[in-house]
């Protein structure tokens, strides 16, 4: 009896310690999630009570809303172009930094800075100016004879502008890559060097395979966060997703439906579809990873 009492008390202590998380999780994540699941089957404008409409929101999304399909297209384009570019860039910088220079700490901080401030409003505004018709990017393009690009007139160019902003925020992936690179033992490179392997061969035969678990990790994290990108699109297009819906990312369209048009039910449905899409993407990445990720501890395949 006494023993059981002690066990209970120990359990309670444990619960007490995790209660800040549990309460926060319930209040701010789980309960709102279930409410949004319910709302996704309703028509709800914030003012009057939600009205149950079954699957109508989902049907409308895929059959009667060209703007929605466009936002999907734009988002996929943004993710599939932006994420690989960002990872390549991050890996490139990480390899440059992996040379034992004494200033490495400084460089690491400097290169990480854009990731900290990159999502901020000020930077997005700066981005607007850099890409303005008389901005530095167009001046540079003219100087090398490529002529100005209408960054705010051409939907694809505008999306390109968003992608460059996302590539520029490569810091966190870079840090993780850097840690991974430091874990590859120098003997491997030495041995390969003795066998006559050049830098390219060393990169493809040693660095990439040994780094592949880290690439997978970065790929998944960056893909998920890219799907949820909101602030840059919102600021650069002044909340309208323009020009001609070229920067109408999924989350921006969701935001407009929810907070500009007060279609909360429809927006909730969109959020759930987004969750499913991200889930599927992650599952696919994990499944495909069998074929290209190399785990040293398992002795290869």
């Amino acid at each position: 009896m006494l023993k059981r009492n002690t066990a209970l008390r120990n359990d309670l202590t444990g619960y007490a310690f995790i209660s800040p998380f549990v309460i926060g999780f319930l209040a701010f994540t789980l309960i709102p999630m279930f409410i949004s699941l319910y709302l996704s089957f309703t028509s709800y404008n914030l003012f009057s009570a939600p009205r149950w409409i079954g699957l109508d929101n989902f049907v409308k999304m895929f059959t009667g809303d060209p703007k929605y399909m466009n936002s999907l297209r734009v988002t996929f384009l943004y993710v599939f172009v932006g994420v690989p570019l960002r990872l390549m860039f991050a890996l490139f910088i990480a390899m440059l930094l992996n040379n034992g220079s004494r200033l490495i700490g400084t460089y690491r901080t400097l290169f990480y800075l854009p990731s900290i401030i990159g999502g901020s409003v000020a930077v997005s505004i700066m981005w607007r100016n850099i890409f303005g018709s008389e901005g530095i990017v167009n001046s540079a393009l003219i100087a090398i004879g490529l002529g100005p690009v209408s960054w705010f007139g051409d939907p694809n160019a505008a999306l390109g502008m968003l992608v460059t902003l996302s590539v520029w925020q490569f810091g966190s992936s870079m840090l993780i890559f850097l840690a991974g690179l430091k874990n590859i033992s120098p003997e491997m490179y030495e041995a390969a060097g003795v066998d006559g392997a050049g830098p390219a061969r060393r990169f493809f035969r040693i660095t990439l395979p040994l780094l592949s678990p880290i690439i997978l990790f970065n790929l998944i994290m960056q893909t998920i966060s890219a799907f949820m990108t909101f602030v840059p699109a919102y600021i650069i297009s002044k909340g309208e997703g323009g020009p001609m819906d070229g920067t109408m990312l999924y989350s921006l369209y969701l935001f407009r439906q929810a907070f500009m048009f007060n279609n909360m039910g429809y927006a909730s449905a969109m959020a759930w579809v987004m969750l499913i899409i991200v889930g599927i993407m992650t599952a696919v990445l994990f499944f495909v990873s069998k074929y290209w990720v190399f785990y040293e501890s398992e002795g290869g395949r």
């Binding site: 309460i23 914030l46 323009g242 001609m244 048009f261 007060n262």
Partner: protein, 430 residues
């Protein structure tokens, strides 16, 4: 050891209850008799200068009524509505909210706004307000808002630049054809005649001159049947953009919302089509003498109307409606307050106030007052406020017009597409 654990547990539980208590702790008691302490919340949208002088008016009010404490919430127009909607859902709206004509029906129909009938000529004196102006706050025959000021559409321009563009003056009875001609003429001299039309506002104006409206009376469908009206109107600017007589939407996208970057301020554009209350801000940014001209016709008189620039409304969840009404009265009828406001929210609705502050006005404000007084007898009654769902309709229209001005779609395609989208959205009001 055990005891310490228990203490910790208690502390955690306590902390969490304290946390939940916080969230319900801001319903300050309010109301009651005249001298009981009252706290009011008031919210508006606007620019920095508006925030500053509104705070001055509030300070003036609280200095005269020491028992009243007023908390303020303000934001830019877009952010304002994003903040207000969740507050409405949570029944946490401020006591007094500034309402826009495109949102007031949504808030009133959903029971968020209090009927103001009982306060008229009790707390809020409206003896000096003309019936037609006060009537703009009526929805379905009930008073939900007190207009703060009235506006009228017009063309605000720089006479010097107009001359430089080869035109001596805006003709008194100018027409759309004349406008096109003038825009081409100044465009050829490198001066942009105007910066485009806000699609919903000016399309509605155009429709009114033809005896139609954008929305029907019930607000559940479009008010015009003939898409030729749509194509006729939007073709005008689309053509001018194509001929480079007007700025491309590409450029306008970049400078959107930044007055200092506009062509008129930079001296590369002649004028702007907009509401009269936007004149003063524009003049300040340009720092040159500007002038106002009426809209082009034919049938300008049928098209223009005195539009409330915005309303004050009292919300239903306010616990101090009478005190809120007193503040609105102060805003409408106090001379001292209006000397601070100086008609920034539109020409005051009270004729007594209009006279009392006339001598105090700066030149540009006086220009606006004169222009509005000149237009008032000519104007026709306002159409009913835009229905619920109108923000979505307006956004759809703006998107289509952007595509049209980029030359991606034809006016006919835009007209058909707009009719389809708008009808779907508005059908929800049936």
């Amino acid at each position: 050891m055990k005891r310490r654990m228990l203490g910790l547990l208690a502390a955690v539980t306590l902390a969490s209850t304290a946390l939940s208590a916080c969230s319900s702790g801001n319903d300050a008691p309010a109301g009651g008799s005249a001298d009981d302490p009252v706290s009011l919340r008031i919210a508006w949208w606007g620019s920095d200068s508006r925030h500053a002088y509104t705070q001055q008016v509030i300070d003036l009010y609280t200095s005269k009524h020491p028992n009243v404490k007023i908390d303020v919430e303000y934001a830019s127009f877009d952010d304002y509505w994003k903040k207000l909607a969740p507050q409405a859902a949570a029944k946490q709206l401020p006591d007094i909210v500034q309402m826009d004509i495109s949102y007031i029906s949504q808030y009133a129909k959903n029971g968020q706004l209090a009927e103001l009938e009982p306060y008229l000529n009790n707390q809020i004196q409206v003896g000096d307000v003309s019936e037609s102006v006060l009537g703009t706050g009526l929805l379905g025959g009930k008073q939900y808002g007190i207009p703060i000021g009235v506006n009228v559409l017009g063309f605000h321009y720089d006479p010097e630049l107009l001359k430089k563009g080869g035109i001596d003056s805006i003709p008194a009875d100018w027409t759309w054809e004349k406008y096109e001609e003038m825009a081409r003429q100044t465009g050829s001299k490198g001066l942009y005649f105007d910066s485009g039309f806000a699609p919903d506002i000016f399309f509605n104006y155009y429709l009114r001159t033809k005896g139609e409206t954008l929305y029907n009376e019930e607000g559940n469908a479009l008010g015009y049947d003939d898409d030729k009206l749509f194509t006729d109107f939007f073709r005008i600017q689309a053509d001018l953009v194509k001929e480079k007589a007007l700025r491309s939407p590409d450029y306008l996208n970049q400078i959107k919302g930044v007055l200092e970057e506009s062509d008129l301020v930079k001296g590369t554009g002649i004028g702007v089509f907009q509401w009269s209350n936007q004149f003063v801000g524009l003049q300040k940014a340009a720092a040159r003498p500007l002038a106002l001209a009426p809209m082009m016709g034919p049938d300008m008189e049928k098209g223009i109307y005195m539009q409330p620039s915005m309303y004050w409304a009292i919300t239903n969840n306010s616990k101090a409606k009478e005190e809120a009404a007193k503040f609105i009265d102060f805003w409408v009828n106090d001379v001292e307050a209006n000397k601070i406001i100086k008609g920034e929210r539109g020409v005051p609705i009270s004729s007594a106030i209009k006279e009392a502050i006339a001598g105090e006005l700066d030149e540009p404000v006086k220009q606006v007052f004169d222009f509005v007084s000149e237009m008032e007898p000519k104007a026709s009654p306002m159409s009913p406020p835009p229905p619920t769902g109108s923000p979505e309709v307006i956004a759809a229209l703006a998107d289509l017009i952007e595509e049209l001005n980029f030359g991606r779609i034809t006016p006919e395609q835009a007209a058909a597409s707009f009719r389809k989208t708008a009808s779907e959205v508005l059908a929800a009001n049936k």
